[in-house]
């Protein structure tokens, strides 16, 4: 059986960064991803089947067939496919959602870490303060902004404490829609700032700046100016020679010894073969839903209801992503 210092389950926003950091620190890493490594052409340009508008499918996994989830509400249970909104899909490909995202790079505000203290806990809610503060997290925000590459203007982020360092690149220039929004906000007297974006406004990290091509969120970047883990930390992990990336690998469960220690993982590779690998450490970074599924599917004598689940909290308290929107008609083309 192969042995690694660390096995990372999920090559997305979290796992990709862990892989890069550990591999460059000299650790032997196995990075498992259930999706595939997708080229620009494979992500494609289908406006009806992408991770932004998934009318009839999507373009960055999970595959529509063979990856069902059960959605449950007061009407009962229904099986939903990956491009159904109720599935709450994260892209399943090398880079995860960062392969196709729009790349907004907001820091949380200090208040976000203390919502329970500031606003109180609504009845029936499990809202709690974070165990860390903005000040503790701030250096890591800065590190991520520089290593992955964010364009913005720190001086204009007036809703946050002053930054220790500016962003590595100036803001991406505004398009027509952005200029329209900015003029509207100014007319209302609203304070505004450029959106920090994980998009190169100029050449950075050996890749070019944005060409303003109108083909962005939901898709891959034609000139690779959009920064995800696939072209930063995962690329660095692979370049270090210390990381094996296996895509198309679906992890069945985390292996646990009789003493209750995690010893590795068991996964199915792209050919369907069952593979067992051992490691000192297993990092579960498969997204909120799949990480919980994997932990619940990994039982042992000590933890018969899943790893870390002796208090029945794994997979509970899932917070979805709330998207408010507005539609308007303008007299001039925007």
């Amino acid at each position: 059986m192969s042995h690694y210092d660390a096995i990372i389950v999920g090559a997305g926003a979290g796992g990709g960064i862990a892989a890069g950091m550990l591999a460059e620190a000299g650790k032997k890493v196995l990075l498992l991803e259930r999706g595939r490594l997708l080229s620009f052409e494979q992500v494609g340009r289908d406006h009806l089947r992408n991770q932004r508008l998934s009318q009839y499918g999507h373009n960055a996994g999970p595959d529509i067939d063979g990856n069902p989830r059960v959605y449950e509400d007061s009407n009962g249970e229904v099986i939903v496919s990956p491009h159904d909104g109720r599935y709450n899909a994260n892209a399943a490909t090398v880079g995860g959602g960062t392969r196709v995202y729009g790349g907004q790079a907001w820091r949380f505000m200090p208040q976000d870490f203390r919502m329970a203290s500031i606003y109180g806990v609504p009845e029936g809610s499990s809202l709690a303060d974070w165990p860390i503060t903005y000040e503790e997290l701030s250096p890591y925000y800065q590190q991520a902004e520089w290593e992955i590459g964010v364009s913005g203007d720190a001086a204009q982020m007036k809703h946050l404490p002053a930054y220790d360092q500016p962003y590595p690149m100036p803001p991406v220039s505004l398009n027509l829609q952005g200029k329209t929004m900015r003029a509207g906000a100014a007319a209302l007297g609203w304070s505004i700032n450029p959106v920090p974006l994980l998009i190169n406004s100029e050449a950075y990290n050996g890749r070019p700046g944005c060409i303003h091509c109108q083909h962005c969120v939901g898709f891959a970047c034609p000139v690779d100016a959009k920064n995800g883990t696939q072209n930063t930390l995962i690329a660095r992990a692979l370049a270090s020679g210390n990381c094996d990336l296996v895509s198309g690998a679906l992890v069945e469960r985390i292996a646990v010894s009789e003493a209750g220690r995690v010893t590795g993982v068991i996964y199915f590779d792209a050919s369907g073969a069952r593979v067992e690998v051992s490691a000192d450490v297993v990092i579960v970074s498969a997204g909120a839903i799949e990480s919980a599924r994997l932990l619940l599917n990994s039982t042992s004598a000590n933890e018969p209801h899943g790893l870390g689940n002796n208090r029945d909290q794994v997979g509970r308290h899932l917070q979805g992503h709330y998207y408010p929107g507005a539609v308007g008609l303008f007299p001039d083309p925007v």
């Binding site: 289908d46 009839y56 109108q214 083909h215 000139v223």
Partner: protein, 136 residues
């Protein structure tokens, strides 16, 4: 399959949802070709719904204006469609007219604006109109 009569109604309807101006209307811009292809694919299950809706549209037109939908002046066609969109119908529809109209509008947008590989947006006509391009 839609009957020739239903197809005629569909073409008229699509070209009121996306009327021609300096640029082609919805049908000529690719919505017809898009729907023909999608009725064999993702929208296969919608085909009978389309047939029911188009027949109901024509019955509604006869009931309100005493003429077939595609013979009405365009301003009157728009008036009738606005009533259907708001659910103000006078005949018994076998399907929800508001929902049906909304779906047809969505499908028109899909066929007219989505990438030409989906069968519509002929010669990328809508992309030229709005200045959309993907550079490589």
């Amino acid at each position: 399959m839609l009957t020739p009569r239903q197809l005629q109604l569909l073409q008229t309807l699509v070209n009121r949802i996306i009327p021609a101006d300096d640029d082609p209307g919805g049908w000529e811009g690719g919505v017809g070709a898009y729907l023909a292809r999608q009725f064999e694919g993702d929208l296969k299950a919608m085909l009978p719904i389309y047939a029911l809706g188009l027949d109901a549209l024509d019955r509604e037109s006869h009931a309100v204006y005493n003429a077939p939908f595609d013979r009405l002046p365009t301003t009157v066609q728009d008036e009738l469609l606005a009533r259907i969109e708001a659910g103000k119908i006078t005949t018994a529809w076998p399907i929800d007219p508001v929902l049906w109209f909304r779906r047809v509008v969505d499908h028109c947008a899909e066929g007219y604006y989505s990438d030409p590989a989906n069968g519509g947006n002929l010669d990328a006509v809508s992309w030229q109109m709005i200045g959309f391009e993907v550079r490589e």
